[in-house]
């Protein structure tokens, strides 16, 4: 697996920090609520490793159900990435129902709630991607958001096992609610290289760091 220097990773974290910060501001404006995002922790890991982490230590008992909001992006220069936002289903429900002023005791997310969650994810992902595109000086065209909720073990089944996943873990605080989620970028190896080259360019990293 390709490795990255500390310098590169710091630069990545900074790029996400900038883009997610804007995402939070947009989101706050939409829901009329103060939203704080913690500084993202960024790393590259494989799909299976991510699945293991999502399952946590509860793999055998009561599986953690997660909701995933997924949009695919294609850059004008060939960069292809899937942007994913993952939240625990329970936390997602809380946020959506809170925004809708609803206290329905239904355990799983309904069709309309999934739609609302798609919109929320769409806003965050769009904002994030647009500031990345802005920073990179390029254009990223996105697909419509798709929402899926399932056990952590099967959440990434549709993704290729050998893809590298760029994971940015963010903490989201919304009024009294603490919600921890992940922003994920799934890319094939050429896309990763391209992505990192842009980051290096952005932060004017020495080209040696890319070797």
């Amino acid at each position: 697996m390709r490795t990255f220097s500390d310098l590169e990773m710091d630069a990545l974290a900074e790029a996400f920090n900038l883009s997610l910060g804007e995402a939070a501001a947009t989101f706050s404006a939409i829901v009329h609520e103060e939203i704080e995002l913690s500084v993202p922790i960024v790393e590259f890991i494989s799909r299976d490793e991510l699945t293991r982490r999502l399952q946590g230590d509860k793999a055998d008992q009561d599986p953690t159900r997660l909701c995933r909001i997924n949009q695919s992006f294609t850059g004008s220069d060939g960069l292809v990435t899937d942007a994913l936002l993952l939240f625990p289903e329970h936390g997602s429900l809380e946020i959506v129902r809170r925004m809708l002023g609803d206290d329905t005791p239904i355990a799983h997310i309904t069709e309309l709630e999934q739609d609302a969650l798609a919109e929320i994810g769409n806003i965050i992902i769009n904002s994030c991607m647009s500031s990345l595109a802005n920073l990179f000086g390029t254009e990223l065209i996105g697909s419509l958001p798709r929402v899926q909720c399932s056990d952590a073990a099967h959440l990434l089944d549709d993704k290729a096992a050998d893809n590298l996943i760029l994971v940015a873990r963010i903490g989201m605080v919304m009024s009294a609610h603490n919600l921890s989620g992940f922003v994920l970028f799934l890319m094939d190896v050429p896309s990763v290289d391209q992505f990192m080259a842009r980051v290096a360019h952005l932060f004017r990293l020495p080209s040696a760091a890319l070797q």
């Binding site: 939409i30 329905t104 239904i106 309309l112 609302a116 919109e119 595109a133 996105g142 419509l144 958001p145």
Partner: protein
């Protein structure tokens, strides 16, 4: 473009295509049916021109973003219930249709355009509203149920604790009198555990003489739906005879049918014993244990009123001890008492069990003989009494002898009423004491 229009008009979703300048290029039939504008009117207009100023501002924003930056957006119904002024086909346009809109960038080959896909979510909203209503209902029902269960548990605990501490025996029994509950005190009273009495009707635990009466009373209480309240004898497994009182009220099921009884069992042995002691004291002479004068006369009156209907003879004997005062003066009052007790005992032994013996006054005794028989047998009884009294009486340090005088009167021969009979017997007793011949009927005994 015509083919595109044909296709766009045949889908069950709203499609609006905007060109790079935000002007309408496609307005499919689905939209035309729900907006107040036909396709040929709308084409070439901006969204604002086509719909007026009644568009959700966010929709305008995301349309711009799609055209300028190639972003996609979803406007969910939950956050944007009715972004466009669209109305259900055939409605009076008073209420906007519930919608969800997807905005995606597209291109005509050279310049970027924007496609709006509008979905009617009315069905989904109604479905979910119903689902939520049911979920709320279910939650409320569950809460009510769990509150009721808690209350039930509390009251059961309360009852159990009360039953445990109660000083009275508590029991519950079904309509067939089979015991279904018995508290600790109840088990103590009966000397039996619930498990041992549960199988058969509880009156079966009683002495044979009581069983039928109590069982009948129980069935009567069940049939007439009245309170069961009875006193009965009970032999404790330790052999101790008890008097118990059971009181019970009916328990009914939801149809008002009697399901059983719940009530108390109390030990009234002491009360019973005290009452019978008091009764004995009131009716008996405390020294000799024989009837007292009042009670004897009640028996006499009852015997005469009973005898009037049959032809029985009833005999009354008056017995007076001769020179009893001498024994008192010589040996003391205690010796006198011993003599009185001995005489009473002896007279009692001579007559039959159903006959009555009383201490009538200081040293006077009276005997009532039912079905007295003829004069000869009466004379034999008088002789037996005279003889029995005359036997030596042991005073501990010496023996004394005492004789008695007996007056006899017979109903109906000598008198028709109790007083007449008493007078006659009294007179004859005194005649005998003075050595005079008897005034009537029977000759004085010649023992």
């Amino acid at each position: 473009m015509n083919d595109d229009h044909l296709l766009a008009d045949s889908v069950d979703i709203g499609l609006i295509l905007l060109d790079h300048d935000g002007r309408i290029r496609l307005w499919n039939r689905w939209i035309a049916q729900r907006a107040t504008r036909a396709a040929h009117e709308a084409e070439g207009m901006t969204l604002t021109e086509a719909f007026g100023n009644h568009i959700d501002p966010r929709l305008t924003l995301v349309v711009r973003e799609a055209i300028d930056f190639g972003w996609t957006a979803r406007l969910s119904h939950a956050l944007h219930p009715m972004p466009l002024p669209l109305f259900p086909p055939g409605s009076d346009h008073s209420q906007r249709m519930m919608q969800a809109i997807d905005v995606t960038p597209t291109t005509d080959g050279t310049r970027r355009m924007c496609l709006l896909q509008v979905r009617d979510v009315t069905e989904a909203v109604h479905r979910e509203a119903l689902l939520k209503q049911q979920a709320h209902q279910l939650r409320n029902d569950l809460q009510r149920l769990s509150r009721a269960q808690e209350e039930l548990q509390r009251s059961e605990m309360r009852f159990r604790e009360l039953a445990r501490q109660a000083p009275a025996g508590l029991f519950e029994a079904d309509a067939e009198a089979r015991c279904t509950f018995l508290n600790e005190r109840g088990e103590q009273l009966l000397g039996r555990e619930l498990a041992h009495v549960a199988g058969s009707p509880w009156p079966n635990l009683l002495p044979a003489a009581e069983q039928e009466r109590i069982h009948d009373r129980w069935l009567l209480a069940v049939k007439s739906a009245t309170r069961f309240s009875e006193e009965f004898r009970y032999i404790h497994p330790s052999g101790r005879p008890l008097w118990l009182r059971a009181e019970a009220g009916a328990l009914r099921d939801q149809h008002g049918q009697i399901r059983g009884f719940i009530g108390t069992i109390v030990d009234i042995t002491e009360f019973h014993e005290r009452a019978s002691r008091n009764e004995f004291r009131a009716n008996h002479d405390s020294l000799t244990g024989q009837l007292n004068r009042d009670h004897f006369e009640r028996h006499l009156r009852a015997a005469i009123s009973g005898a009037r209907e049959v032809t029985d003879r009833i005999a009354l004997l008056f017995i007076d001890l001769d020179d009893f005062k001498v024994i008192n003066d010589t040996h003391g009052h205690q010796a006198g008492d011993t003599v009185l007790k001995a005489v009473a005992y002896r007279v009692r032994r001579v007559v039959r069990a159903e006959d009555r013996v009383a201490r009538y006054g200081g040293d006077e005794f009276a005997v009532l003989l039912y079905e007295a028989g003829d004069d000869r047998s009466l004379a034999a009884i008088v002789a037996k009494i005279t003889h029995a009294v005359a036997l030596p009486i042991n005073l501990g340090h010496c023996h004394v002898r005492i004789s008695c005088s007996i007056g006899l009167a017979v109903y109906p021969d000598d008198a028709q009423d109790p007083n007449g009979l008493l007078n006659q017997a009294d007179l004859r007793m005194y005649d005998g004491k003075r050595g005079r011949p008897a005034r009537a009927g029977l000759a004085p005994p010649t023992a």
